[in-house]
């Protein structure tokens, strides 16, 4: 569906993306990850046909994304990472404008999305909060029911409730056979919806993995508070990896649960919490270890 072939775009500064190759199949949700400035947005610009690649090309349904940009936009929905609207419009005016630019006649999906995300679109966009603007952008990206969705950090600015509503929407679209590329920083998000994930670092594609396999790589770290200072020694002698930071013990669960809890049962644990691990950390850890 979407093929990225030998794609390079090198800026005068020497930064950019270098010889990227990957394919996203129809019906697949592809997570695209990497630190800021790694080249995610540059890749997306090429997928949308905004930029002229230095080398290589992107094709969507076997059509060159740059050359056939206007025609391909019929089947693409795009959610920009940095959203800039026509500021003096209200939310609904903007959505109407984009709809008319698309020659969109059927507004059912638009109105359903507005309701689903509880978007109050009557105010001026300029005066909207970050989360409200993000909702406007989501509606604009999905309202024409596109076959391909390009989403750049789609949940940023949304509160947890809305993030979940959004992830449900992605799963529905996936079920309906849509092809989706989304960039994200949050492991749980990618884990919930993506089939595969690719990570880009300094313009190079470091890895592409099935998300299920990544889950297996996830090491779990627990943060413990204990009342006995001797516990640190006790845990580290038992073979678990442990670090002490601000009176808290960061314990990596390198053993199975029964053994893990057996060790903990000998300690004086007063609180226990799990540490969130980002997908990038997992990638970096895995590929750091391989190299």
């Amino acid at each position: 569906m979407i093929e990225i072939k030998n794609l390079s775009q090198i800026y005068p500064s020497g930064k950019g993306i270098f010889n990227l190759n990957f394919t996203v199949e129809k019906g697949e949700v592809f997570g695209y990850l990497g630190p800021n400035g790694a080249g995610k947005t540059t890749t997306i610009r090429n997928i949308l046909g905004f930029s002229n690649a230095t080398e290589g090309q992107v094709t969507i349904q076997n059509q060159d994304a740059r050359e056939h940009a206007a025609a391909l936009q019929k089947i693409i929905g795009y959610l920009p990472g940095e959203i800039a609207f026509f500021d003096n419009m209200t939310g609904i005016e903007f959505l109407t404008f984009v709809g008319q630019m698309r020659n969109l006649k059927d507004l059912q999906k638009r109105d359903a999305l507005i309701e689903r995300f509880q978007l109050d679109a009557s105010g001026k966009i300029k005066k909207m909060s970050k989360g409200m603007k993000q909702k406007v952008a989501i509606v604009a990206a999905f309202m024409h029911d596109p076959e391909v969705l390009i989403l750049d950090e789609p949940t940023s600015g949304l509160d947890p409730l809305m993030q979940n509503i959004f992830l449900d929407l992605i799963l529905e679209e996936k079920k309906a056979g849509k092809t989706i590329i989304m960039s994200s920083h949050i492991f749980d998000e990618v884990q919930k919806v993506c089939d595969r994930a690719g990570i880009i670092k300094e313009g190079q594609l470091v890895a592409i993995e099935a998300v299920n396999e990544l889950k297996a790589m996830k090491t779990e770290t627990f943060i413990l508070t204990t009342s006995d200072p001797e516990d640190f020694k006790r845990i580290s002698e038992s073979g678990l990896k442990v670090q002490k930071k601000y009176n808290k013990l960061y314990v990596e669960k390198t053993l199975d649960y029964p053994k893990f809890f057996e060790i903990l049962s000998k300690c004086h644990v007063t609180s226990i919490e799990t540490k969130q691990q980002s997908l990038e950390e997992i990638f970096m850890k895995y590929y750091g270890e391989v190299k």
Binding site: S51, N52, A69, A70, Q73, Y78, A84, F86, M89
Partner: protein, 266 residues
Amino acid sequence: MNKVLFKANLKNNWLILLFITGMMLMYTTIAIGMFSPESAESLEGMLKMLPEAMIKGFGFEGIGTELTAYLGSYLYGFIYLTFPIIYIVVVSQNVIVKHVDSGSMAYLLTTPNTRKSIALTQSSFLVSTLFLILLINVMTGILMSITMFPGHLQIGPYIALNIATFGTLYLIASFDFFLSCFFNDSKKMLSIGASIPILFIALKMLSALGEELAFLKYFTLFSLLDVNRILGSGSFTVTISAITLLFGTGIFYGSIVLFDKKSLNI
């Protein structure tokens, strides 16, 4: 051409459109209102009391006792250039480079419209509203003149003067539109797009001051707008209108192609 985008432009730019049209209308009505065939001579006498350099600089030289020449020298040396240029600079910026700079161009380009059609719409908006501003003023000028001073305005030469003025402004508009397509940064476009036409006006004013500075007229586009020659000769008007419209259209076309081909970081 895209009607939806054209309408959105109108919504974005109506205030400046109204302001510029209003300012020019104000000067036009004042100029005509101040005219009186009897007192034109006394106005001429009054102007003689002002420093000569000032009169020449603002193009008030040879303010005629005849209405058409009077308007030509009173309005077309400065007022009918400066206000439209402000409009051209601001609107050229608004229609392309501002959207590229802010990123809202992404929303235009992720609709199934070609870049060529978007750039064509934007340039058409600039040109048609510029034409509208002049048209409103010319119509007002003609109506007011024939009502207040029947028989005094030479309508043919007056229209010729406005066609030549539009041609020259059209060329300036094509240049600013080109800058808007070329740059990705609004401020760069604004600084060059405003300073060059302002320089042209300044040079025109300076070149009128005296013999020593007369050579400066070769460095400003607005020397084309020689009011006396335009009012005197129809063929001169045809020549400069043809030249400016031809070059302007060439530059507009080139700008649209440039915008279609360029790599956008939005």
